[in-house]
Each structure stands twice: as C-alpha cells, then as structure tokens.
Symmetry: C2
C-alpha cells in the first residue's frame, strides 16, 4: 500500500540565472517541482509532471530516477527549457525578476497517467490556476491537495485562482501574496479570509523568519533555522513545501483529519512545518539544487533536532 | 534584599505624534523609559532617570509612582518635552521619522542619586553613548548592564558606542542596526561580531517576527505573539526590553552567570525573551501607553502560556 502515500507534484522545471550577495550562478537547474521533489523524495514516493526542452540535462533526470522520483510525467519537447533570470536585494529576502523566457513551458498542459491518478496527495506548484484545476479534474484518488501561487496569478487570474482554491486543502504562500489575495493588512485576518476561500489550512511563508500556519485549531508559528552562510534563497519556498507535504504524505494525510481529529491534525501540521523549515534551510546553503543533491536522510533528522533546540522556550 | 533586584532605566520621556495604518495619535505619551518602566514594573522595582518639560502631565508621573516606579530621577525643567513625529509603512514594520524636537532632552545629563547607585541592573535605553557611559561611571553596585542603541549613534558616534559596549552585558538592537554595527550581512555573523565588542548576549529584535538571541550557549529564536489587530508598533522594542530585563532582574541576573552557569543562563534568557515578546504584544494593541496602563500582571502570565502554545513544535 506504499502507493497510498504518493505525491503528485505539478509545476515548473527550469534553468535559473541568479545574482545574490554571495555571487552569481548562470543557467543552473531550478524550477518549483525540481526543488520540491528533491526534498519530498526523502519522505515518500513522488511523481513529477513537467515539461523541459531538449537542452535539459539527461543526467538530472537520471538523478531523479535514481532517487526513486517517478518522471514518467516529464515531457521532453522540441525547444528550450524555461529560463528565469533574477537577483536578490541586500538581505536576500526578496527576489527581483530580471527576465523570464517561458520557452517550452508556455504550452505546458499537464496530462495525468495511471500512476499519477492513483497519487493520494497532489501538490500544485505555482502555475496558472487554470492548469492547477485541470490537474484536479483529471485526478480521481487523491485525499489531499496542497497548492502554491504568486502575485502574478493573484492579480491576473483572480477568479480562476478562487475557483481552484475551492478544491484546495492547504495553501502555501508568502506574506505579501497573502495580503494581496485576502485584501487584508493583518496576518491573522488575511489567513482567516483565505481559509474562507476553501483551504482549511493556510501556510504563510515568511522567508528567513520561518512560517505561520493557520488551521482548524488556530495558529502556530515556527521560526526558520538560522543558517550561518546563506548563498542563494531560490527554491526555499518550494523545498519548505517539499518537506512539509512530504512529511504529511508519509504520515497518511487526509483532508478529513481537519474535521475528524483537529488535535491530531494540529500536531501533525506542527511536525510537518518543522520538516519544511529544515528542508528549506539546506536549500539556501548553495546555489541551485547543489546542496539538495548531496543531502542525506540523516541530515534532515539531525537538523530537525537542532531546530527543536533552537526554538525551545521553557514554560 | 528586594533592592538587589532594582533596575535603573535611563532614557527618553517624550510626546509622540504618530500616523499608522489604523489611524493617528497626536501628542501622546511616549519615550523609551516610559514604555520600558510601564512593563518592567510588573516584574521588579524600577527607577527611572529622564527629563521632561513643564508640559509633561503630572497625572502620568503620579501613575508611575502609583505603580511603584521610583521617579526621583525625573527632572522637570523649564521648556517643552521631547517631541517625536513619525509614521509607519504599509505593514507597520518600519517607522519613518518626520520630525524631532529635542527640546529639554537636548541638555539631558543623567545624574545618579543614592537609590540609583544601589540598583543591581542598569538599562541604558537608546541615548547618546557618551551619556550611557556616564551612567555606568556613576554607578557602583550594578551586576548587569543592558543597552539599546540606534542607527543615528552607530553611524554618528561609533567609537563612543564601542567604548560603552565594552561595559555592556546584553545589547538589544534591531536587525538593521545589527548589520550596520557589525558590518556583516548574515545574522549569526553579525551577532558574533557584536559579541566580540563586549556584550556576552546579543538580542536581535525582528519586529513582528520576534527575536533571535545569541549567548554563550549559542542562538535561540522566539517568534512574536500574533496580534489580531496591530494599532501602533511604537514602543514595542522598549517594552520587549522591559519584559526581558524585568524578568532577568526579578530572577537575580548577574553577569557572572554567563560564565559560571551557561546552561542556567541560557534557560533564563529563553524564559526572559518570552516575557519580552509578550510584553511587546500588548504595547502594539493601542496607541501610546494606553494598553500598558490597563495591563494586569495576570494578563502577562496568561499570554505567556498562549505564546508557549503558539510556538510549541512536538519533537
């Protein structure tokens, strides 16, 4: 029954060119489902749906397969892979997009095969909400839907996003996006407004400060692990989701839990957010997927213990 | 021996005129030691040194006395009280100073009387580092020195501040100030650099995100209490210090603890930071000292329990 814990992740596979305070990386591997699956595959079985051009390195697809990631949903089509060029501000909290070449990603249209349709958890990375909904329409065995989005869709395809959110159980977005989506100016009020749109759980990502999570039992807050040398924040949000959703999937997440066992769900969410924070903390230690490619299971467990210690306050 | 837990707090007493997202307050009570003592007096005995003009309301001095705050060090001189005019950005994380009228504060020169000289803990609020040092030079029985500062002094009187810091045990500053003072771009590296300047403990205030504390046993992070309706962040940092230093003083803080019992000191610091976060969370619920004036001891203890619950992550 291991298949019951499978995550289907749908999103971008990309090249990134990035300038941070620590240096520059040109045309390196990136994209939301690359980041997400590199981490989530430490927790459970993962299938990926994405599209790449003929320039995408076969060696990375081999690495994914080697980690047990099902890449039967990765289409390789004629043309170039999606390319994002960005840079970070002084304290590396905000990325500025310098250019975006969608390339083959422009005509991305996720198609689910039989393995995908049996996945119990679906992670909709930050893509057009119309495509996100088409994934849910094709799936038929999922017990939990997690979703990401961004300003571009919140402002540009608001109605379509609201339609998708009706079927989402957990929305993971950053603070600015939460304010934009909710049209509120306070975090609690923003989360409550978004919970009324559909998701019973709202995860607000706060960059280097960690995350605040709002569920049926109220809110909890988890700080990010303090990293002595942040090289590149790209992918931190996607790997936060990878650790969090990975933990939830491995532990048999089901949307009914929020109603049938809110206390248990709250404990599970807190523990999952710990895995999310720790996963993100590895990502930022190097450019691209470099740190994640050499990440071992034991390192995650070890840093989870360190983070628990770092945030422990005696009562 | 109750006197051994006395805090001597030296800093500004002021009027503030403030514009926030929630509205406007004109010429209301403010100033670092007003905020600090309103909270610290819930934890231990407090003496205040400050200067006000003849326009400062006697009713507030009476309120301070009524709370047991020793105001023998508050000078009332001819002229007007210090007046700060400021406004906050969209999400109320950063204050912008619109104007500052120092008035009687321009000639502030703290003089310690016999009660002050017996205080075991000294809190040097954000004033000229030369004045901060003059306070320490006059004191003779203190076991612990906590200090605040700001960009204005870090940039304008760097050498004088470095001189003061040699005698400081705990420095409490915000993130931007920590980067400016340390000339580093990473929080851990910034704190380590500052610890080398003198303070064995560095508290980095992170606004609505809480605080990171660096001591002899390493770092811990505490998130701020989520407040459903933030009215005015003014004074949050000073009341964070009020709760934190108040807790430390009540529990007999001594600079030797950092060396003689680093584990005990670490536990004490974590517990103190909890009191700091909770104290700040009340401050922001209303303009000026309004919420603090109606604050009861039981409310602090109660919210500490709530915050412990809000940040609990099962191991």
């Amino acid at each position: 029954m291991k298949n019951n814990h499978r995550i289907l992740a749908v999103g971008s596979m990309a090249f990134d060119s990035i300038q941070t305070l620590s240096g520059k990386a040109e045309h390196v591997l990136g994209g939301s489902v690359n980041y997400f699956s590199a981490v989530a595959s430490h927790f459970t079985e993962v299938s990926v749906i994405g599209v790449v051009g003929q320039d995408f390195p076969k060696s990375h697809l081999d690495w994914m397969s080697g980690r047990g990631i099902d890449i039967s949903g990765v289409e390789i089509v004629e043309g170039k892979t999606f390319h994002w060029v960005g840079e970070y501000d002084n304290y590396m909290n905000e990325a500025k997009t310098l250019s975006t070449a969608l390339n083959v990603f422009e005509h991305f249209s996720p198609k689910l095969n039989d393995i995908h349709k049996e996945a119990s958890v679906i992670f909709l990375a930050n893509i057009d909400p119309v495509l996100q909904k088409s994934v849910l329409d094709q799936a038929n065995n999922h017990r939990f839907v997690a979703c990401d989005s961004m300003n571009f869709w919140i402002a540009g395809k608001r109605n379509e996003l609201l339609e998708t959110l009706k079927q989402v159980d957990l929305l993971s977005i950053n603070e600015g996006e939460a304010y934009l989506l909710s049209e509120q100016k306070n975090l609690i009020q923003a989360a409550n407004t978004i919970r009324d749109m559909g998701p019973s759980t709202v995860v607000i990502k706060r960059g280097e400060y960690g995350a605040a999570v709002f569920g049926p039992k109220g809110a909890f807050v988890i700080p990010a692990f303090l990293v002595p040398n942040v090289i590149d924040p790209t992918g931190a949000g996607d790997t936060f989701a990878g650790g969090m959703i990975g933990y939830l999937a491995r532990n048999g997440v089901d949307r009914d839990l929020a109603k049938s066992d809110p206390e248990g769900w709250d404990r599970m969410l807190r523990r999952a957010a710990l895995s999310g924070c720790v996963s993100a903390s590895f990502t930022v230690e190097d450019f691209s997927l470099h740190r994640l490619i050499r990440l071992e299971d034991g390192e995650i467990a070890n840093r989870e213990k360190q983070l628990i210690k770092m945030i422990n306050i005696p009562g």
